[in-house]
């Protein structure tokens, strides 16, 4: 499938694109045999994904576990080498760089992980953890580094006397703040946040989400925000991409996605999110999906969603739906989607 115009190009006339991803693929090989191992298949974790992220915006990525949202984030930062496709950060094509050139790009792109404890070295003090990126990239002398660490500690809302403490002395929310400070140490423009708040309690989640938003305003950061909590993603994002089985099935701005989702999967996902309002909950209709997500090693033919889709048509199991712009800035990969509600599930 090679359409003349990729979806990413159609909107690329707007200036200041931070990240451009074109036909990104990440396949993990399945091998068999111990001595003479041969590849017998591949897990298509990310399969032909294209999108752009503009400077200063937040792109949310949602989907169920195993849909490839984290792998997408990791492939963009080249923590996993993509199998195929292009990733541009600004004007630089990351896929064409060698290891050393890639290392030079690292200060411009950072990642924040879900497990705040596992991603901090338990034997290093907070000061050392936050200074480490500066040591590796050798940008400052000792005093400058210390001053910068103090500045970062304050920026993320920690206390200056936390400098000499160790990760285990902090709560989950504070540890996530340390992670954020470390990610920001080298002034990156682009940060991938991989489920940064999923492990936190509600009242702490709000603190960290507010911190993310304040930092974005203050420093002009661009986020890719990966999460499975739809209401939180909707809250923090400008645009949201919905993934299913390694593909983006729908991408649009946050309001269109909530008020007029076009892909049947998005519609069912939206209807399944519980709302903290008993009145609304009583009158809502859930679109119950049958069965569970198929294995990405052996995805269904045609549209990957067709075997669970309530609107399935003969064409769905034969042809892969094109990922196209149905409305301005509203991309959908569904044969039935049109501007008149052809893909709307009636309830």
């Amino acid at each position: 499938m090679t359409p003349e115009k990729t979806p990413a190009q159609t909107v690329s006339d707007k200036p200041e694109i931070m990240v451009r991803v074109e036909h990104l693929k990440k396949y993990f090989p399945i091998t068999r045999g111990l001595l003479i191992s041969r590849q017998v298949g591949a897990v298509k974790a990310v399969d032909n994904v294209s999108f752009i992220i503009r400077k200063g915006e937040t792109l949310g990525i949602v989907g169920e576990s195993g849909c490839g949202k984290s792998t997408t984030g990791r492939s963009i930062l080249h923590l996993e080498k993509p199998t195929a496709g292009k990733v541009y950060l600004g004007d630089t094509d990351l896929t064409s760089l060698n290891t050393e050139e890639l290392r030079m790009m690292r200060p411009r792109m950072q990642m924040i992980f879900q497990d705040s404890y596992a991603s901090l070295n338990p034997r290093h003090s907070v000061g050392k953890i936050i200074a480490e990126p500066m040591v590796i990239h050798g940008s400052k002398n000792f005093d400058e580094r210390r001053a910068r660490v103090m500045e970062l500690i304050e920026l993320v809302g920690l206390n200056p006397n936390h400098f000499d403490r160790f990760p285990h002395e902090f709560s989950g929310g504070q540890r996530q703040r340390i992670n954020i400070a470390r990610a920001l140490a080298l002034n990156p423009g682009f940060v991938v946040c991989d489920e940064p708040i999923s492990a936190l309690d509600v009242s702490i989640q709000a603190q960290v989400v507010n911190l993310f938003q304040d930092l974005q305003k203050k420093l002009g950061l661009t986020y890719m925000f990966i999460a499975h909590d739809l209401s939180m993603v909707q809250h923090i994002s400008n645009r949201v991409a919905v993934m299913y089985l390694g593909k983006i099935v729908e991408m649009t701005n946050r309001n269109d996605l909530f008020h007029s989702p076009l892909h049947p999967y998005t519609q069912s996902l939206m209807s399944a999110v519980p709302q903290p309002d008993p009145e609304k909950e009583r009158h809502r209709h859930r679109i119950m999906l049958e069965g569970e997500v198929p294995s990405p090693a052996n995805p269904p033919r045609g549209c990957v969603f067709h075997n669970r889709c309530p609107l399935e048509q003969p064409i769905c199991s034969e042809e892969i739906p094109e990922y196209r712009e149905v409305r301005p800035d509203h991309f959908v990969a569904c044969h039935l989607a049109d501007d008149k509600g052809g893909s709307r599930i009636s309830i």
Partner: protein, 335 residues
């Protein structure tokens, strides 16, 4: 409707090397027949410890239940669960009271077929024969929505997906026709679409089998859709209990109010800044001498730092443990 479970002033402490952890400080609630009571709270608030104290599931030592009663009304018999011997409580567990855990993979025995795990409790509690138990187990698997139940009977837990494993757990929990099912964060590890399936299954079971459900969770969204009443816990104390509509429309404890404001609402056209609760929950190693929320409460005044607030009724079935009157924005008039 009659009350099936009454818990009064439950106190549980853990004696550790670091000191005494005051996990539960006089928690009281009751459960009506056929209702769903949700227990909401953050990690460390004591919601799971409450449930595990009732069924003697905590390791003793370090845990010690130091006070309170838990009266279980069973066909005219009034049993205090906390006073039961080891043998007697194991008759109740899995028999009259079923339990669904959060992590189905570690709660189920990995080297035993799911069929045997279900029939085990049937043989143990209901004194069924093996063949009879097998038949009922297959029926149960089918009932909780596992396709091909008779073939799946001899599968092991790892051969099921997360959602299906949770269904197996539910089948184990309801096997012996329990009066009460306690579900401890049963959907936390699941995706939203699977969560919706499990919530619906639980509601159907409850309707058809007339079971009382205690649903422990931290997700105020799930609670809104399925609970009849909600108990909010904070740092080992019950801070508010109310019918579900009343709690969401009229939250009266500053902590509950804070939780509601900290949640993003889907569908808001412009996203408002979330109102977070500053600070973090208190250290439970300290013996509580005053309101546990006072540190983070913006309404706290001198009385909040001097005594522990007792629950006061502010509406039908609506109790809050707070000296501040949220509605009128001033300290409450004490009776």
């Amino acid at each position: 409707m009659s009350t099936i479970l009454e818990v009064h002033d439950l106190v549980t402490r853990f004696y550790t090397f670091d000191g005494v952890v005051h996990a539960l400080n006089k928690v009281s609630f009751d459960l009506e027949e056929g209702e769903t009571l949700a227990i909401v709270g953050e990690s460390g608030s004591g919601k799971s410890v409450t449930m595990m104290s009732l069924l003697h599931l905590l390791p003793v030592p370090p845990a010690k239940i130091e006070g309170g009663q838990a009266i279980f009304h069973d066909n005219g018999n009034h049993i205090d669960l906390l006073q039961l011997s080891k043998q007697k409580i194991s008759k109740v567990r899995g028999g009259k009271i079923g339990f669904i855990f959060q992590d189905a993979l570690s709660a189920l025995n990995p080297v035993m077929t799911v069929g045997r795990q279900i029939s085990e409790s049937l043989i143990e509690h209901l004194r069924m024969g093996h063949e009879e138990a097998r038949k009922r187990a297959i029926k149960l698997l089918d009932y909780v929505g596992i396709p091909g139940a008779s073939q799946r009977f001899s599968n092991y837990p790892h051969q099921f997906s997360g959602g299906m494993r949770q269904r197996v757990m539910i089948a184990v929990a309801i096997a012996c026709n329990p009066k009460i099912v306690i579900a401890d964060e049963p959907t936390t590890a699941l995706d939203v679409t699977i969560q919706a399936q499990i919530v619906e299954l639980t509601q159907r079971l409850q309707r058809e089998l007339n079971i009382s459900v205690i649903w422990v969770t931290h997700d105020l969204g799930v609670v809104a859709g399925m609970a009849d009443r909600v108990l909010v816990m904070y740092a080992g104390s019950a801070v508010e209990i109310a019918p579900v509509d009343e709690l969401y429309n009229n939250p009266s404890h500053p902590y509950t109010l804070g939780l509601m404001r900290a949640l993003p609402r889907m569908g808001d056209v412009v996203s408002k800044r979330l109102v977070s609760i500053d600070g973090a929950p208190p250290d439970l190693l300290e013996k509580p001498r005053h309101c546990q929320f006072a540190w983070r409460c913006r309404h706290a005044f001198d009385r909040c730092w001097q005594e522990i607030p007792q629950p006061r009724e502010i509406g039908p079935g609506h109790f809050t443990s707070c000296f501040h009157d949220v509605k009128n924005g001033r300290p409450c008039n004490d009776a």
